[in-house]
């Protein structure tokens, strides 16, 4: 096992990793930027090292400083958390070149799965369903028509250089196809300085369902069932739950089997997430793999009782998984709500300032992962995630009711948060009846 781990992150996930280290009897050294100096979660680390200025590019994204900090304190591993450098294969490579274990998958697996096109090609090769599409840039009109016919309408035209929902156009009918592609190319040229576009089947009102996988370096790959993250706002997840209320047992088994197949094919180890879209008819399509621990990992921890961060660290130290697929028995229903320091009435503008009153909820089956407390300072420079409220109850209706109780109980003053929006979501019949899709929040609130 490692003797000392450098935590190359901040806020709630840094605290989460510190706690895991303590329980493993591994020393935790946490880096911090000048902006985070004095944050209380740093007191729980064995040491804290300032690595740079407030801007992420001057501190949490500065790989040389992180590695220097690990060297200087004698850490034998680095945990990247999520965000920042967590999915940066170059950083992982540099760490290992310096004889510091990067707690995550192999560099090869990160490179293979981190590239969407490669991951899609891999999935197709091993017969995991992907969204039907052009598999590359549209060259000429004849090809475009041929592909669209094969894929089936409606289709979506996407700019190759786009992302986050930008540069997309839906075509419902063959007659509009060529004109729309032409427009899309012009727009892509203007917005991204590249005329490259490709075509995919448009999945109407999809749900986002992902499978948590954990694998060791000895070839054992175990899935920990799925999380449903359909409730998003502009591609940012707000609420996650497990099991998914919208898929049947057979789809669940298929998704989990596909996720394991992809990870085995990529010789994956560590924690990873395989994401799928599921359409209204229950058809599913692989979209991508996240090669890191995710914000919403506690949902799976609650249903399975397994500590994903501790397992991730053990696996990185070369240990075998101490459970197998058969011994993973999910229990009950878990829901997570992300409480962001944002103002829902002001276009979700991040809010900063000092919290004067912070009263997280508590009780049976309630977990709050947060770095918040009375007197805590919220910086406008970083991700606005302030707290994750996770509930675990025997059934989904009980979990929703418990979450409503928790959101009502949670007091954060005077910084504005997404709590009011979350309360409205938990009370909305479409969420309660699980009839939502990924566009629900934008359409409804």
């Amino acid at each position: 096992m490692f003797r000392r781990i450098l935590i190359a992150n901040r806020g709630e996930i840094a605290l989460r990793i510190i706690r895991a280290c303590r329980e493993l009897n591994v020393e935790a050294v946490c880096v911090f930027s000048e902006e985070d100096r004095g944050a209380e979660y740093l007191d729980l680390a064995d040491r804290a090292i300032c690595i740079g200025g407030p801007a992420p590019r001057d501190s949490y994204l500065k790989s040389d400083r992180l590695i220097a900090a690990a060297e200087v304190c004698g850490a034998d591993a680095i945990h990247p958390g999520y965000g920042f450098l967590a999915e940066n294969a170059q950083f992982a490579e540099k760490c290992r070149a310096c004889n510091i274990e990067f707690i995550g998958p192999s560099v090869e697996a990160m490179q293979l799965l981190g590239d969407k096109a490669n991951a899609r090609a891999l999935a197709k090769r091993i017969k995991v369903p992907t969204v039907p599409g052009s598999d590359g840039i549209l060259e000429d009109d004849n090809e475009t028509i041929r592909i669209a016919d094969r894929v089936g309408f409606p289709v979506i035209i996407k700019a190759a250089a786009g992302g986050g929902g930008r540069g997309m156009r839906i075509v419902h009918d063959k007659t509009d196809l060529l004109a729309t592609v032409k427009q899309a190319k012009q727009e892509a040229d203007g917005a991204f300085n590249s005329r490259d576009v490709y075509i995919e089947r448009y999945i109407d009102r999809p749900r986002h369902v992902e499978v948590q996988v954990i694998a060791d370096t000895h070839g054992s790959v175990v899935h920990l069932f799925e999380r449903d993250c359909t409730l998003q706002r502009r591609y940012q997840k707000l609420v996650e739950e497990s099991p998914s209320p919208a898929i049947d047992a057979r789809t669940r088994a298929d998704l989990c089997a596909c996720a394991v197949k992809i990870c085995k094919a990529a010789k994956y180890f560590s924690a990873g997430t395989v994401e799928f879209l599921v359409d209204a008819k229950g058809r599913y399509y692989f979209i991508e793999v996240n090669t890191r621990i995710q914000v919403e990992h506690p949902v799976t921890e609650m249903t399975t009782g397994l500590d994903l961060i501790k397992t991730q660290i053990r696996v990185a130290a070369g240990k075998k998984l101490d459970f197998d697929q058969k011994s993973v028995k999910p229990r009950g229903h878990a829901i997570e709500c992300r409480v962001n320091a944002e103002d829902p009435d002001e276009k979700f503008r991040p809010c900063a300032g000092v919290i004067t009153k912070f009263r997280p909820p508590g009780g049976l089956g309630v977990r709050v992962d947060t770095y918040g407390h009375d007197g805590c300072r919220i910086s406008p420079r970083y991700d606005s995630l302030l707290a994750k409220v996770i509930v675990h109850q025997p059934t989904r209706p009980e979990a929703i009711r418990c979450m409503q109780r928790c959101l009502d109980e949670f007091i954060i003053k005077p910084v504005k948060t997404t709590l009011p929006l979350l309360r409205r979501i938990m009370a909305h019949p479409d969420f309660v009846e699980a009839t939502i899709d990924t566009g629900f929040v934008e359409r409804t609130f």
């Binding site: 911090f32 100096r37 004095g38 007191d43 090292i49 300032c50 740079g52 001057d58 220097a68 200087v72």
Partner: protein, 142 residues
């Protein structure tokens, strides 16, 4: 203080010339011990000068300037163990005077004073690990 830091930052970003001053006998397998890095990290806050840096019997009214570490690494007062130190207490420095080298990931970087004055005190020991922003020298301005 922010201005001073920014200057150091800028000069680094412009001129992070990595000098391969490899020390002849760097005990390269020993990880340097991190002296009191955790404690000052919390003692700091928004003070313009660290309490540690205040000298006993210090003349009230004199405003010392600090040279901060622009990086995380190991502090060396001389280019190699057989050479004299770059500066010592009482040395006069100018903005481009090299005051120490910092080692990180086997690369040595020269650190310049970025200010003018007399070295009043050297705040870290040779071979000590330093974190970003840690005061290294106290300079009495001319």
């Amino acid at each position: 203080m922010m201005v001073a830091n920014d200057l150091v930052e800028l000069s680094l970003r412009d001129g992070e010339v990595e000098v391969n001053l490899r020390r002849p006998n760097p005990n390269s397998n020993d990880t340097p011990i991190l002296h009191a890095v955790h404690a000052p990290a919390h003692a700091y806050g928004d003070l313009p000068i660290s309490p540690e840096a205040k000298l006993p019997g210090e003349v009230v009214g004199v405003e010392f300037q600090e040279i901060h570490s622009p990086m995380v690494g190991t502090f060396y007062a001389s280019p190699d163990p057989d050479s004299p130190t770059f500066v010592q207490v009482g040395s006069n420095v100018g903005p481009s005077t090299v005051v120490c080298v910092l080692e990180a990931m086997k690369v040595f970087s020269e650190i310049k004073a970025e200010t003018s004055g007399t070295v009043e005190r050297i705040l870290v020991r040779d071979g000590e690990a330093v974190e970003y922003g840690q005061p290294l020298f106290l300079i009495r301005p001319h």
